[in-house]
């Protein structure tokens, strides 16, 4: 799943005929006056200014300002852009949108499920929906089938929409499903959906999650995907994502501040078991990482570089199951090169390295790792006869550590 920020998300809704508030995205305050000149709605109505970043609890951090006039909006934009919101993160984009005066708030969403889509609607919206989840009505739409207006109409009635509003809700829901289906979405949520003063339904706020794997058939997706962590990606994470996007196989990296145990495991499945094992043994993971699908050694080396640069780590877990086709010798060559460079750069002081792996060329790969001990690395190497996650037990509990 890939998250799309509000601006491009709203644009997708608009593309499929759903009403959204007018909005503009700014990266510099210099853009404000020209935009105000070009857009009458900015001059004529009240405005909302929000940080256009994948940051959680924007309201609490003061990154949402409402009910502003043009001058107030410009002031808010000036204050918000470049603002440090902690952990070295600054606001680099803001979105200015029109305030839509409205009387009622509703909820409308469509979610990917195994059989197709689950269309959800409720006649309550905003923060109230959280406590009234049972009021949501569901319409199941099988993949490949069209959404049926009659079924949505019945659900809308059951959800308690006023009679004259039902046709509008049905129309909006059909458009939402079309957007979901045609844009390869995985989750679209409008909360709140509001009834404007002119009697029109408007999607006031939207969550847009798209299928990143479908990007190749959507040349008009001119946006980058945002992180889903409640914080933007760090530069190291972006660097690995960039490598991941152009190599055979995959390399993944996510930083988790404050951890003592770094992970450098192979495989999308085994990597999570290693994370679980660290947590279960009382360690704190400093990152998530994974390489798989026989990636080139330089990509694994770049990943190793980032892992070795994590602050405050005591140990690195180089785990992995018995590979099917990932060449252990070749991928370990990348890891070893990364370790050597880190050591030369003064990193890895007092850091233990724990290795367990099997697969093609396992004997050569493990021997090369073992040889690092002669170069002064604090390294412990195990083969397939040591169960997968036992190295975590050895590393954290000292149990069975020879």
């Amino acid at each position: 799943m890939a998250k799309v920020l509000e601006g491009p998300g709203m644009d997708l809704f608009k593309k499929w005929g759903m009403a959204v508030p007018n909005h503009v995205v700014l990266t510099s305050v210099d853009q404000f006056d020209p935009l105000a000149q070009a857009n009458a709605w900015m001059r004529n109505g009240k405005l909302v200014v929000k940080a256009h970043e994948a940051i959680g609890s924007r309201m609490k951090l003061g990154l949402v300002k409402v009910d502003l006039d043009l001058a107030g909006a410009k002031k808010a934009v000036t204050e918000m852009l470049g603002k440090n919101v902690g952990s070295g993160l600054t606001v680099s984009q803001v979105i200015v949108s029109e305030m839509v005066p409205h009387s009622a708030e509703y909820y409308l969403a469509v979610k990917s499920v195994r059989e197709g889509a689950d269309l959800m609607l409720a006649s309550v919206g905003g923060i109230e929906i959280e406590s009234q989840w049972d009021k949501v009505q569901h319409v199941a739409i099988e993949v490949g089938d069209p959404a049926l207006a009659a079924e949505i109409e019945a659900a809308a009635k059951k959800a308690g929409f006023a009679k004259d509003l039902v046709p509008k809700v049905v129309e909006f829901a059909l458009k939402l499903h079309q957007c979901y289906d045609q844009e390869d979405a995985q989750y679209l949520e409008i909360n709140p959906l509001v009834l404007s003063a002119s009697g029109e339904l408007v999607a006031l706020d939207a969550v847009t999650l798209l299928d990143a794997d479908a990007r190749y058939r959507h040349p008009d997706w001119n946006f980058t995907f945002a992180s889903e962590f409640g914080r933007p990606y760090t530069s190291d994470e972006r660097a690995i994502m960039e490598i991941d996007s152009r190599v055979k196989g995959s390399v993944k990296f996510i930083e988790i501040p404050g951890g003592d145990t770094a992970l450098l495991p192979a495989g999308g499945g085994a990597s999570v078991f290693y994370s679980d094992a660290v947590v279960a043994r009382g360690g704190k993971i400093a990152n998530y990482a994974e390489y798989s699908g026989d990636p080139p050694d330089w990509a694994v080396e770049a990943l190793t570089d980032k892992v070795c640069s994590l602050p405050g780590i005591k140990r690195i877990i180089v785990g992995g199951a018995i590979a099917n086709f990932t060449d252990v010798k070749k991928t370990f060559t990348g890891i070893i090169a990364g370790f050597r460079r880190a050591k030369a750069d003064g990193k890895l002081k007092d850091v233990e390295i724990w290795v367990r792996r099997g697969g093609p060329k396992e004997a050569e790969g493990l021997a090369a790792m073992r040889a690092l001990e002669d170069e002064g690395f604090n390294i412990h190497v195990y083969d397939r006869y040591t169960p997968l996650t036992d190295i975590v037990d050895f590393a954290i509990q000292g149990k069975g550590n020879p």
Binding site: G56, R114, D213, I256, G269, I285, I322, G359, R384
Partner: protein
Amino acid sequence: MSIVANADTRVVIMGGPAGTNAARRMGEFCHLIKKPLNVVAFVFPPDAGKTFEIPYGAQLVSLPVYRTVAEATAAHPEINATVIYVGADRATKAAQDALADPKIKLVSMITEGVPEKDAKLLAKDAKKRGKVFNGPSSIGILSAGESRLGVIGGEFNNLVLSKLYRPGSFGVITKSGGLSNEIMWICSQFADGVTTAIGIGGDAYPGTDFVSYLEMFEKDPQTKAVVIVGEMGGNLEEQAAAWLGAKKRRIRLIATISGFCQEHLPKGMKFGHAGAKEGLRGEGSARSKTDALRAAGAIVPDTFGALGPAIEKLYRELVETGVIAPVAETDAAALPRLPKSIDQAMKSGDVMVEPLIKTTISDDRGDEPCYDGYPASELIKKGYQIPHVIGLLWNKKLLSAQEAEIVKRIIMLSADHGPCVSGALVTIIAAGAGINMAQSVAAGMMMIGPRFGGAVTDAGKWFKYAVDQKLTPEAFLDYMKANVGPVPGIGHRVKSVKNPDKRVAELVSHVKSLSIPMPHLDFALQVEKITTAKKDTLILNVDGTIAAILVDLGYPVESLNGFFILARTIGFIGHWIDQKRQGSRLIRLFDYLVNYATPKRRDVPPLT
């Protein structure tokens, strides 16, 4: 016994390079279990009509490549399954074609990054047709002792270690490819091994889920228990729990679920497979899945590390209760071995091969070429130049800076002599005829011989002969007159003592200014003194000068022509590019440039 794939499964692989690699792995398995190769054909439009060669034991089997699935199944009616290795943008169409083919009952998709919507549509299509669609992102399916679809099971040695050559009692279903291998290994270490292992793929909506395969395992008498590896996200594990709890089941279920670390991570932080996403409102956590499975009667160890002992405990229980009859172990030493490649056999010292050729000048088997032992990058770093490379490759000698400068000047002097000389002219004619660079330049090269460019070798040969024999210049000229003819390297059509060749003067004065002994050049100049006394134009020409100097630098006579060929290649390439740039036309000789000394036109007599 097994499920999904068995000894009768015959596969068409869709895909090129990745597909042939999988076929190779499948061939290794078939060889190990002494069964015929289960891959029958490929579908790969770019190579349709050709064959792909797949090793099977010590043989190489040629398998036909088709444009479409329909063509493959028409030619090979025994095909009943396909494994898809084509790219994500074409995989859906490939699977649709395969599902639509009446002969194909199983479609396993290895391709990763297939859009979720496509996977759902394919699953729906397969269900409607009563077929199995496995994947996307599957590592494959392996039935021990019967069939292998894909690279699941890893390399040959692992197949043996994990005892995949004969069936055990445990079924395996995993999302992760690496873990399918790990679980098969665990089952062979802690129990009697596996029946069938299936990688269903780590995507959010695998084409076939745990429950569908559990149903099949339930009906397979050989399978006594099933190990599933689940993870947070989705509800496939909950469905498996519901299936297990719904009624009394013959098979036992062991599960391990990943994703407990999520409880300790910042909210919203998710990772692992595409499908490993906790629901937006907390459903599908590792804990809730574990609870559901335990409540339904499955064995779910606390950690992955406890899985092996749990499998062992269950195995012992099933043996004690008579459900599993332990099998006598096959002697692994008696199993077929994978023939070694020549490379491997040589490395392990098992064979000695008489080399076909021998080289003494260069070697690029390392990370870069070495010329006469010197790494190219080191030569560059230390300031060596092209003449040094020529010295190493032609004469296995590292030249001094002075020597290299001489070689450089010789090449510069000989690089081109205009368009009229025979070599350049032929290159230009070829370029005009639309011939490409390599052939046009080669055409010019073919002119190099005794009359064009060949004088250097001959001059060098005779000057060397004279110096070696310690002949005086006079004795040398007498010898040449009596036995050979005109002295190569002496004489010029237009240049003379009064009109000297500037190039020769330059070269000689430069060489003479150095401290390098030049006996051949000295000798040649003495010869010139005598010959020019006889006739003004009998000067030491540029070929003779170059020849004498190169012999003095230690180049063997047979290498001398190389300097001319090398230098003039620069000119020929230039002429070819020049003609191309101008878009020059086909050259045809004008009639007035031909002397038609032919008989007058006459009648052809009748054939007798």
